[in-house]
Each structure stands twice: as structure tokens, then as C-alpha cells.
Amino acid sequence: MTAATIQRNRPSGFRISKRVLPYVLSLPALLVCIGILIPFLTSVVYSFQRYRLSQPWARQVNWGDNYISFFTDPKFWNTLKVSLLYAGTTVVLELLLGLAIALLLQKRSTLNNFISIMLLMPLMTAPALAALMWKLMTNPGFGVLSYLASLIGLQDFRWASSPSTALFTVVLVDIWVYTPFIMILLLAGLRSLPTQPFEAAALDGVPRSFVFFRITLPMLTPYILTATLFRLLDSIQQFDIIYAMTQGGPGDTLTVFQVEAYLNFFQSTNVGRSAALMIILWAITYFLSNIFIKNWLRLRERARGQA
């Protein structure tokens, strides 16, 4: 095909100047951003209003009153504490468990591949359904877990219905559902690590614990950070498991951000307070994401420098 042919076949009406082209290319991203920003900015506006659907006549801008009332309310600090505790506990435990399972399944074999696929099953279960399933299993009358607990001497273990064990129970469900996510991410990381450092260490007779802490773990850190970031952001916004199992109870034991915001909007129709809670949650997740992303970038830079 000659240059003249190409010239002839080029459509004449769709010429975009080089100055405009970058804006056109970024248009889809801009549209997505607008789709996210409009509800976000609406929430920000609502959060500065006294806005209850059942009292439309009382709607007015109250500036920071919603936030001030939260910061002076012990119930809000309990919500913050429970949310962070829940997120921290689930992420740490899931990370430890996920890493341990990934290490066990690191070697490629038919059995390991089969097990890793089977372990993904809980991740395919909707969290709300998983919570209902666990609710049945922990029923003191006929639940299999209550029966097993009684075998080890825990005759009257109340699981999610007691303030002292409710957090433990929902954390257990979260671990069951989400550990496979961490496991699969870290397994992919482990299997993609270069083999040379490990072969060299084996030749030098380096102890396995040294290899793990000085070679495997540092090289796996970007994967761990990514998995942690995803899980932390998801975990601090947990709703389904907690609401399906306890509705935030007993008492105020599990009134995490999302449960509080949901109840404020759908039960109390208090749009202002619900929006303010969501904005505070957004600020927390933004702060945490920044820390993780900065660390992740720092590690990437260090890896490039070493290369």
C-alpha cells in the first residue's frame, strides 16, 4: 500500500488537533470522576445541613453542627473505636493466616492448585449470606459450632449475642470470608518472586527462618501492602456481616460507621447526620490510603534503586 493510498483512505472529518487530543483522551476518566464527585459533593453539602426527611420544614444549613455533635458524643467515639478495632483485628489476622496458607501452597502441584481453588469458595459467598450461615452455626440450640464449643467445655458460649464475644464472632466470619483474598494475592506474589536469591541462600546453607525474614518477606512487602490496603479499606467500611448478625448490637458493641450511617438514613431518615458520618469515614480511609500508597511508592523506588 502506497503513501498516496493511505492519504486517500484517511477520514477527513475527524482531525483532532494535538492541543485538544489529551483532553479528549481523558474525557472518559473525567466523566467517571463527575459520576463520583457529584454524589460526593452532594454528601458534603448535606453533611453541613440539619436535614431530616421527616421534618422537611426544619431543613437548614447548620454548618458544622453535625460534626460538632459527633465529636462531643461518646457514642461516636465508640463507633470510631469499634470500626478501627474491627478493621485492625481482621486485617492483621487475615494477613497472618493468608500468608501462612500461601506459604504452604507456594510449591506448584496439582494438589496445591486444587486446594487454593477450593479455599476461594468463601470469597464467592455473599458476606450477608455467610453471616446468616454463621448465625445458624452459632445458634445455642442447634448450631454445630455451639455444639463443638460445648465439647471443649464452653457450655454457655453466646457468640454474637453477648457483648463480650460479639466482636470475636463477627471477626471470625470476616476471616472466613476474606482470608482467601489475602491468600490468593500473596500466593501470586510468592510464585512470581525471582528464584536466584533463594537458590543462593540454599547453596550457602542459610537457615529457613533467615530466608523468610530477610529475603521472602522484604520481597513480598509490596504484595502485602497492596493486600493490606484493599482489606483495610473494605474492612473499615464493613456493613453486611455485622448488620446481618447483630444489627450493631448487643447494646452499642458493634455500631461501626456503616451500620450507624445506614440506621441514620434508612431508619431515622436523618440525611445530615448520615452524610456527616460518611464524610468522616471517607476522611479516615483517605488518610489510611495515603499512608499505604506513600509506603508502597517508597518501596517501589527503593526496588528500582537496587535494580
Binding site: R52, L53, P140, S161, P250, F266, S268
Partner: protein, 481 residues
């Protein structure tokens, strides 16, 4: 239709022959029950159409939002009659109760014209009404041009009817002169005792006559029956739904209130009076001693299924829950009995708080007149009788349906004691809460406090004082206190 059969049905519809006589007569003419029912429906449709222009909105379609419930099933089963009567079409969406009210809130708060009418509870109208999401139905009820002369509005139980009417003023009395009829009562639930006869006999106990007796009876049942059976089932989840059934029915029987309304219309918490504290202490003791171990997760579903499965000896909850557990595939089907409950030994009668499944009209409906045609048919005496006698429309709101011999016989035959229970408490049945827009905030917090008291996280006195303080703060913040 043959003339003799037609005459007999017409005589029934004119009130000259009772239902028993009608069925007997049709039987003598060699008609099977199914055929007789069909003929009766045809006759009723004809009678309805005789005095009123039911075809005024012929060709129009309305859309309903329904909760998955036996009452909705009864209505759906009878929809063809409405379509034939009016020439209208009806479409509907049915959602399970777990998400139903979220769906209603989402649709109404978005001013969506998708649904013309929907099922609701009276408590919800305290939010929907002031928000401008639903219509005051007095405009239609009181308009003879739009309402069938045989609609018999006054046939609806007065306490139930007035419970669905509120003037929109926080603390305003339900059913007051200036009240708006936010919804039409459809069927309701009284909170009374349903108990396992066999277990009561085995433990040698009678039906408790007041709260103290309920506490001791439940404890004795739990001790004597054994096998993990607990004494009494009541709701305990962190939700408004824990407060409104047995708990508030007993509480109000002691003349205790949720809120106090001052002369200038300001509201304040009334849960920390001496009487309220004494009541709470007893209620908490009862749950601690004889309630389910995981009480704090109990909704109506667990309360009901435990009774049906023989895991509890009695419940103090919605009467229809006891009805449904006494049939079907339930292990205890046919073994349950019913009793009205008067918690206060000094009270003369039972005064149950009630849940009312009602029908409301969306303010965003595109054709309110057509929607009203559906509402008046669905809440009318004919459909009520159809649901009560042929389906599981257990607690109809119409007095005429409760007087119907076939309905009473149906209940007496399969659910002994149900009618007596209803008769004993219907007169005192009404909503005992103070109508105000923070209903869900306050009752959810009340339930959370109850959970803390049962879990011994906080003593009853201290818990109620803190609850009252918090509620007063919320009322002030909302400009109500």
C-alpha cells in the same frame, strides 16, 4: 348461573340469609364448595358494581409495592376479581421484609412515581406523612362520588382506624379531630400469649395472669421441661421491632408512657419514672432467667420458629405469629393455644399495642383517583371476608368479618382459643406510642439499652436515666423537646 342459585346468593348479599345458610343451600343444590365460592365471588362482584361506578377508571394501570406476607398473598389471590370489577390492571413488586422498608424509603424519598400504593405500618407514616410522601386519604374517604356507598368505613375497628390517623403534630393524639388519614388499616396484629399446651400440662402450670406470674411460669417451664426448651420467647434485636410487640403491650398496661407531652406541646422522655424502672427490672429478669440464650439477635422470625419447633414454651408476641406456627409443617402444629394477656394485676383488661399492616397512597402517584379505587376495594368488606375465609388473612380490621360465622368457625376449628383471645383484647388494642417523627431513633436506642441491661452491662436504673437523657437531647436537637 341458575335462577335458584342466583336468588340464594342475592339473598345472602342483601343480608337475608347468613353465610351458613348460603353454603347449606348451595350444597343442597348439588354445588361443590369450589363452585359455590366462584358463584359467590361473581355475585359479590355484581353486588359491588350495582351501586357504584367501578368502571370509571377502566383501562388504567396502577402499580403496587408489596411486602412478602400472607396478607399480600391473600390480596394477590383475589386481584382478578378487582380487575373484572373495574376493568383496571394492577401490577406489583413484592420484596422480602428485610429489605422492604428500605425499598419504600428509597422510592418515596426519590419522589418516584413508579408506585401508586404500597403496604406500610402506621409507625412509618409518622415519617412519610410529614415528609409529604403520602396522601391524606380523608379526601377520598369522605367523597361519596369517589367511594363506594357500601365501603362501610365505620365497620373498621375504631382503635385500629384511629391509630392510622395523625394530625402531624409531634405528640398529637392519634385519631384526633384534625387528624389526617395517612393510611387505611388492612389487617393488624395484637400482642398476646401463644403457648404450648403440652408443655404447660407437663409442668402443671396455667396461663399467666400478669407479669409476675409470667416470670414465674416461664422459669418453671424452663426448669421442668428441660431438653434445652426455654420458658418465654420475646424479641431482642437492636431494633424498634423489639419494643413494639410484647414489651410495649405490657409496659402500657401499667400505664407507663414512652414520652410525656407538655402543655406547650414539648416532648420529653418518660422511661425513667419509678414505675417504668420497676417494669424494666422485671422484664429484664424474665429474659435473663427464661429467655433464649441469644435473645439479643431475636426478631419475630426466631421467636416464631422456636415456638413452632418446640424450642420455647410460650411467646408474648404477635397473635398471628402464633397462628402461623400452629399450622403448616411446624413440629408443634395443632399443639398451640392462645390467651389474651393483662400484665398489670390491677388492670381490668388486656391493652395490646398493635402493628397494623396498612395501605397508603404515594403522593407521587400519577393517578390518585384510580389508586383510591384499588385501595377501597382492597380494604373493603368483600375482600376482607375473602381473605379471612379463604386465605390466611388472620387479623382483619373489619368488625363485620370478625362477626362472620364461617370465619369464626374456621378459627375455632383449627385454632382453638384464637377468637376468644381476640375478643378479650380487641377493645383495648391500639398504638400506645406517642406519634412523633423520631420514633425509629428513640425505639432503636431503647432496644439497645434493653440489650445492655439484659447483658448486665448497665444496671436498670442507670440505663434508663442515661436513655432518658439521650432521648431528651435528641428531642431538643430536633426542636421537639
Amino acid at each position: 348461573m341458575h335462577e335458584k342459585e342466583k336468588d340464594l346468593i342475592d339473598a345472602f348479599l342483601r343480608g337475608q340469609v347468613d353465610r351458613r345458610g348460603l353454603i347449606k343451600g348451595l350444597g343442597a343444590m348439588g354445588l361443590a364448595a369450589g363452585t359455590a365460592g366462584t358463584l359467590l365471588n361473581l355475585g359479590q362482584t355484581r353486588a359491588l358494581a350495582a351501586d357504584f361506578d367501578w368502571q370509571a377508571h377502566k383501562g388504567k394501570t396502577i402499580k403496587l409495592l408489596l411486602n412478602k406476607h400472607p396478607y399480600a398473598d391473600a390480596m394477590i389471590a383475589d386481584l382478578e376479581n378487582f380487575k373484572k370489577l373495574t376493568g383496571m390492571n394492577v401490577v406489583y413488586d413484592v420484596f422480602p421484609e428485610d429489605v422492604y422498608f428500605d425499598k419504600v424509603t428509597a422510592a418515596l424519598s426519590a419522589s418516584s412515581p413508579e408506585y401508586d400504593a404500597f403496604m406500610t405500618g402506621a409507625y412509618m407514616t409518622w415519617t412519610y406523612g410529614p415528609a409529604g410522601w403520602i396522601t391524606d386519604l380523608n379526601e377520598w374517604i369522605k367523597d361519596p362520588a369517589k367511594t363506594n356507598p357500601n365501603y362501610a368505613w365505620d365497620d373498621i375497628l375504631p382503635g385500629v382506624k384511629s391509630s392510622c390517623a395523625w394530625n402531624g403534630k409531634p405528640g398529637g393524639a392519634l385519631g384526633s379531630e384534625d387528624a389526617k388519614q395517612w393510611c387505611i388499616p388492612w389487617a393488624f396484629e395484637q400482642n398476646n400469649i401463644t403457648y404450648n399446651k403440652g408443655m404447660f400440662d407437663k409442668a402443671g402450670v396455667g396461663v399467666p395472669g400478669n407479669l409476675d406470674e409470667m416470670i414465674t411460669t416461664a422459669a418453671k417451664l424452663q426448669k421442668d421441661i428441660g431438653s434445652g426448651v426455654y420458658g418465654i420467647g420475646v424479641r431482642g434485636s437492636r431494633s424498634w421491632a423489639t419494643i413494639h410487640p410484647g414489651f410495649l403491650s405490657a409496659y402500657s398496661n401499667f400505664n407507663e408512657k414512652d414520652l410525656t407531652v407538655s402543655a406547650d406541646g414539648k416532648l420529653s422522655a418518660a422511661m425513667n419514672t419509678a414505675g417504668s424502672k420497676a417494669f424494666h427490672a422485671k422484664w429484664v429478669q424474665m429474659i435473663q432467667e427464661s429467655g433464649p440464650k441469644d435473645w439479643s439477635t431475636y426478631t419475630w422470625y426466631q421467636v416464631g420458629t422456636d415456638l413452632g419447633a418446640g424450642a420455647s414454651a410460650m411467646i408474648f408476641d404477635a397473635d398471628c405469629l402464633g397462628y402461623f406456627m400452629n399450622g403448616g409443617d411446624n413440629k408443634m402444629a395443632g399443639k398451640l393455644a392462645y390467651a389474651a394477656f393483662t400484665a398489670n394485676p390491677e388492670a381490668k383488661a388486656s391493652t395490646p399495642n398493635i402493628w397494623i399492616w396498612s395501605l397508603a397512597m404515594s403522593n407521587f402517584s400519577k393517578d390518585k383517583d384510580a389508586t383510591w379505587y384499588f385501595l377501597q376495594w382492597a380494604s373493603g368488606p368483600e375482600h376482607g371476608l375473602f381473605g379471612a375465609t379463604k386465605m390466611d388473612f388472620v387479623d382483619p380490621v373489619r368488625q363485620s368479618v370478625w362477626k362472620d360465622e364461617m370465619f369464626r368457625e374456621k378459627l375455632n376449628k383449627s385454632y382453638p382459643g384464637y377468637v376468644e383471645m381476640f375478643d378479650a383484647s380487641a377493645a383495648g388494642a391500639s398504638i400506645k406510642f406517642t406519634a412523633q417523627p423520631l420514633f425509629f431513633d428513640l425505639t432503636t436506642e431503647w432496644a439497645a439499652t434493653l440489650q445492655k441491661m439484659v447483658a448486665k452491662e448497665v444496671p436498670v436504673d442507670e440505663g434508663l436515666d442515661k436513655l432518658a437523657e439521650s432521648i431528651n437531647g435528641q428531642l431538643r436537637e430536633a426542636g421537639l423537646g
